[in-house]
């Protein structure tokens, strides 16, 4: 299956990976190649087959108790922030 440029651009936008025109074209070609190779799955009849959920014998969630055991670690949370202002992370101004 070949991939068109518009779809490739849309995907790059969704993934928030800025690509220039040259990169878009390269990615389009590579993804197209991978998608072509993946078409082998068309051979498989999956009628009535359930999709896999989890991988092992652990098949259901084990909930935790509702107790405050975490948080209260502002310094840790902020310690790696590339741009912080007091107790806040920052981003370029968002207009809503």
């Amino acid at each position: 299956m070949s991939l068109d440029l518009a779809t490739t651009r849309r995907i790059a936008k969704l993934a928030r990976i800025g690509l220039d025109d040259q990169e878009i074209e390269a990615v389009r070609a590579q993804l197209g190649g991978i998608l072509g190779w993946i078409e082998i799955l068309d051979e498989v009849d999956v009628e009535g087959v359930p999709p896999m959920v989890g991988t092992s014998v652990t098949t259901t969630l084990k909930p935790r108790e509702d107790v405050v055991t975490d948080g209260n670690c502002q310094d840790k949370v902020l310690s790696n922030a590339p741009d912080r202002e007091g107790p806040f992370f920052t981003v370029p101004k968002v207009v809503e």
Binding site: L14, R16, V53, G54, T58, T59, T60, L61, P63, R64, E65, D66, V67, V68, T69, D70, G71, N72, C73, Q74, K76, V77, L78, D83, E85, G86, P87, F88, F89, T90, V91, P92, K93, V94, V95, E96
Partner: protein, 484 residues
Amino acid sequence: MSYTLEGNTGTWEIVVGLEVHAQVISKSKLFSGASTVFGGEPNSQVSLIDAGFPGMLPVINQTCVEQAVRTGLGLKARINLESRFDRKNYFYADLPTGYQISQFEHPIIGTGIVEIELADGSTREIGITRLHLEQDAGKLMHDQDPKRSFVDLNRAGVALMEIVSEPDIRSPEEAGAYLRKLRQILRYLETCDGNMEEGSMRADVNVSVRKAGEPMRTRCEIKNVNSIRFVMQAIEIEATRQIEIWEAGGEVDQETRLFDPHKGETRALRSKADAHDYRYFPDPDLLPLVIEQSWVDQIKQTLPELPDEKRARFQKDYGITAYDASVLVAEQSTADFYEKVAKGRDGKSAVAWVTGDFFAALNRTGKSIEESPVSADSLGAMLDLIADGTINGKIAKEVLEEMFETGEAPIEIIDRKGLRQVTDTGAIEAAADDIIGKNADKVEQYKGGKDKLFGFFVGQVMKATAGKANPAIVNDILRKKLDG
């Protein structure tokens, strides 16, 4: 009467569905052990899980699951013993991991019902499509810096129940009634505090319009409306906007809009062109959530009596009107208060006092029922004192006011102020004779057919006894003396 809007081309009806985000009452977050307490120092109630640090994994909170089940039971809804968590992928500054953990294909709660009451006394059933658990996002502040927005993740990861209604709502009034009823149920269940001002309950409103008998037309979603009044306003304004577009020969675009209560308008937030593609898929960090029917049954045992049942019981047990009963059950605390007052007494006079002078006094002093200086027992004691003739109704009003001020028991006030009802016929007769003697002209007129003057004599006698005379005895004596 059904609600419609008149356009140039005829009559339009509106179709509304609501998605309510209700914050779950729990100590810690849905998938982390950080606190949910409101108003903490920025980024202090954040675990590294909430902040989406590398390698961090979610673990589900048992109480949040229980709260969702409780709510489902309260909405008479189907409880799904197996549900799943999915990732809803999108980029935004308030969403640290780049995805919200939500329930897309397999929610924990399926279809249910909410019955609403309308002003004309009629009731309607609004269908619930589903209820699912999901994470709240963080908070952005835009007004602190000219170039940057600030991010506080204290809310990030707090558990929300998204409660989705069927598009069964047909008027702003119904939307208001639905939201009030939903909030009431959540409060009774103690699964959400329903505080819209603090954002613990928010509504996304889906609005479309159509001519009678038509199928659905394109809908718009108005995001995050934070008061019942605004929801009602937004529906009318948005419906009017859509009618104008259709009637001008245009097309309504399916889009997300924002309600601006100051300007009284809705405006587009983003259009279909840059619509999200959320790429939902099952969260591979979380396995299916499986609960036992026996556990659901146990939770059912602990459900409180819900407003609908309570209202019906109040009407039956206390002989009060449907209207009075729904006023009383609006808040669980009011219903409990009333029930304490009414138990073993006359239910009708109890409702008259509770919703009358008692509510008025609360209003005047700006107090909630929980802060009332007059307890239900003490108000009940006052009702007993009326019933046994210790005081009359008029004096009782005075006593209640004093009770609000001093917090004293009614009998103490009555004794301190000497307010016991005068039932001594001799004293009342003497007062009556005195009044009749002083007002010979009025007696003349009364006997001449001016019946209304009877009230004057009653009033004068009451005045002479400082209001304490038993009104029934006063009436009796005056009748004998004037008519006899």
